[in-house]
């Protein structure tokens, strides 16, 4: 490992040379926000920097929720040509910080008082060794349920508060010939549901023991089996065509009234809004039954790659612009997420956004804010993907619940 460190240091020295060769006063930003709304929102940031005389060199690489961008990042760092700022998630940030590759943002953080306004659970991914290493853009929460209000009303269903009520609602819809649950068939989507189901089945302590502490007892427990049984119930109430479906097509099923519910993160809201639907009247957003007090989250952040020892002027300006309340509000209104700082006014947000901000603040203060396993904020990438393997194999009928529990314990132990 010591050898490794020196190697990284060498690479970084090369980085600073390369950065020196590029235009001083520019930032090169690697990100995967290429769809209309979010790219337009990011453009706000670009204009902000340009007004300060800092050029923005755009390096978008979409695909797989940032997986493609992370591969590119690895190649760029190995080549000694790291971008100035990189969009990152959860454990990826900490992994790069451990390699000593990220710049120390403490100075700007202290100046602007980040410590006080960014929730503790989020700081766990933005700080390493007492140093701020990245600037959080947003907090997505993943334990939402989206529902078509007309479909629910027509079947006399009110918002389910518990798992049993949810089961009853699903069965009512199935009996009425509506697809109860719209589900996209990709491992990460199945795992997103699994997060909420496990939280609901075992409560926050169980969630933490199993997914954050990776405790074998919790992973192999009967509660885990119960969670898998509940996944099987959900699978039984998904249409036959779910496999491979993109999440937004599943959302469209709810929008069009073909399906009642979708369990998905808050980014699904944008689809409803784009279809001209109004929260509260056309569609409903509520926490997954049994997780009303909890918020499982993932957060997009921008990490700054070390430019030869200290953080550059441009990086500091970028970080400061990201954390500015006006950008936090403008960006998150578009993205569907909520601001990464808790002191931003909720005025510009719609009903779901307001509730999201309220929930986040409440969960953060009561210790109910947890990183999402499915989105790489509970355990490192290797473990996350090992969980994906088991959840998707179970959801697609390869394992029964008991086998899935065993496989989960085994897969996590190999990946750890």
């Amino acid at each position: 490992m010591a050898y490794m460190k020196t190697r990284i240091a060498g690479v970084l020295a090369a980085t600073s040379l390369a950065a020196g060769a590029a235009n001083a006063g520019d930032v090169e930003v690697l990100h995967w926000w290429t769809s209309g709304g979010e790219a337009a929102a990011l453009n706000v940031l670009k204009q902000d920097l340009e007004s300060q005389g800092i050029g923005w060199q755009d390096m978008p690489v979409a695909g797989g929720g940032g997986e493609q961008a992370m591969t590119v990042l690895r190649a760029r760092v190995t080549a000694g040509n790291a971008p100035t700022a990189v969009q990152m998630l959860g454990f990826d940030i900490l992994d790069w910080a451990k390699e000593g590759a990220l710049a120390d943002l403490n100075e700007i953080a202290a100046q602007e008082g980040w410590d006080a306004v960014v929730p503790e659970a989020l700081q766990a991914f933005a700080r390493h060794d007492g140093k701020w290493i990245s600037a959080p853009v947003n907090v997505h929460s993943t334990n939402w349920v989206w529902a078509n209000k007309a479909v629910l009303d027509a079947n006399g269903i009110s918002v389910p508060q518990t798992w049993d009520e949810f089961m009853a609602a699903v069965e009512t819809l199935a009996a009425a010939g509506v697809t109860p649950i719209a589900q996209g068939g990709q491992a990460w989507q199945e795992a997103t549901v699994f997060d909420a189901v496990a939280m609901s089945a075992g409560g926050p302590d169980f969630y933490k023991a199993a997914f954050i502490d990776l405790d074998e007892g919790a992973l192999g427990s009967d509660t885990m089996k119960e969670a898998f049984d509940r996944m099987a119930f959900i699978r039984a109430n998904v249409d036959e065509n779910f496999s491979g479906r993109d999440w937004n097509l599943a959302t469209a099923m709810v929008i069009n009234g073909e399906a009642g519910f979708q369990m998905m993160g808050d980014w699904a809201k944008g689809e409803f809004l784009n279809a001209g639907k109004v929260p509260g009247t056309d569609f409903l957003c509520f926490r997954f039954p049994g997780t009303q007090a909890q918020v499982t989250f993932n957060a997009d952040q921008f990490a700054m790659f070390d430019q030869g020892g200290s953080v550059s002027k441009e990086q500091a300006a970028l970080a400061s612009a990201i954390l500015s309340p006006s950008f936090q509000s403008a960006f998150n209104v578009v993205k569907g997420s909520v601001p990464a700082r808790t002191d931003v006014s909720d005025e510009a947000f719609d009903a779901c956004g307001k509730q999201g901000m309220k929930d986040l603040a409440a969960a953060a203060s009561s210790g109910n804010l947890f990183g999402s396993m499915a989105h790489g904020h509970a355990a490192p990438a290797s473990v996350k993907n090992a969980v994906y393997d088991v959840v998707t194999a179970h959801f697609n009928g390869e394992y029964d619940s008991a086998t899935a529990v065993q496989e989960l314990v085994d897969a996590v132990s190999i990946a750890k």
């Binding site: 690479v11 290429t34 769809s35 670009k46 690489v61 979409a62 190995t78 689809e271």
Partner: protein, 293 residues
């Protein structure tokens, strides 16, 4: 090469011919289907796609998706469309195809007309390079490009594509030149012609068909490459495939399938054009060279 004009001696009955035509048309349908789906959906408004049948002809015809894909679709922070990336691709493909073809031709020439002890083994070594899965070279290649100061540049990409294309071009030219009468080369040598003179005056003028094969093969592979383009380019040199990927794979937000399909066809136009224009020579070139074991 003259064999191209040669008619087959096989005779078939009329009934068999009808069957053959039917099957050929059926296969043509199979090959065209995906292109049809892409084409037809690229001229529909989005609402017709999400609400309708993907095989149906548009009710409202529109070229809007094409315009959007080319000049104003969101592939990054700014809505530039695919246009700027198109030129990045051209700047990468042209030199890479040229260099790898020239090197392949020279290698083929040496390996067939200037043979020396162990040349077959060297050829075998170069040929095996065709089979290396590209994923494994990403990290070490990045390091090497960094050392050469080529990281993130178009020339870095050119180097990568030349390195991994040379095996194929050498294979093509070697097989082609193997059938070329060595006596002509020897005679020219006796007349005092040098190594490059012989290549330039004797070999090259008769290499037309195999140059076409080599160019088509390299052009297609390099134009369509995504992995290297994404990993070794920076903001200023990203090729078309990366932009197309950004357009199609955007993680959240409304997916404008009609724009995606228009963009996909736009990205494929150069290769399609190459195949349609040069396709005739392609079979001829293959015939003359690469399949003559």
């Amino acid at each position: 090469m003259a064999a191209m004009q040669q008619e087959s001696a096989i005779r078939t009955s009329n009934a068999a011919r009808v069957l053959i035509y039917l099957l050929l048309l059926l296969f043509a349908f199979f090959y065209l289907l995906p292109l049809f789906v892409m084409g037809v959906n690229s001229v529909k408004p989005l609402s017709e796609i999400t609400g309708g049948n993907m095989m149906a002809l548009p009710e409202i015809w529109t070229l809007e998706p094409w315009r959007k894909a080319w000049s104003e679709a969101q592939v990054g922070v700014q809505a530039t469309g695919l246009k700027p990336y198109f030129w990045n691709s051209i700047k990468m493909v042209v030199p890479a195809v040229f260099i790898s073809t020239v090197l392949g031709a020279l290698n083929g020439y040496v390996l067939t007309k200037w043979r020396f002890r162990g040349d077959t083994i060297l050829f075998g070594l170069m040929l095996f390079a065709c089979f290396i899965p590209f994923q494994i070279v990403l990290i070490p290649m990045a390091r090497v490009l960094g050392i050469f100061g080529l990281a993130g540049t178009t020339w870095g990409l050119v180097l990568v594509h030349v390195v991994y294309g040379i095996g194929f071009t050498t294979l093509y030219f070697r097989n082609y030149y193997a059938a070329f009468p060595t006596e002509l080369v020897r005679a020219a040598q006796i007349d005092g012609a040098g190594f490059f003179q012989i290549f330039w005056r004797i070999m090259l003028p008769s290499s037309g068909p195999i140059i076409v094969v080599s160019v088509i093969w390299q052009f297609t592979n390099i134009w369509n490459d995504f992995l290297f383009g994404a990993s070794f380019a920076d903001f200023s040199s990203q090729p078309m495939t990366v932009a197309l990927n950004n357009l199609v794979q955007s993680s959240t937000g409304v997916k404008e399938y009609n724009v995606h399909f228009a963009g996909a066809i736009l990205a494929a136009l150069p290769t399609l054009l190459v195949y349609i224009v040069a396709g005739r020579f392609f079979v001829r070139g293959l015939m003359a060279g690469s399949v003559k074991g």
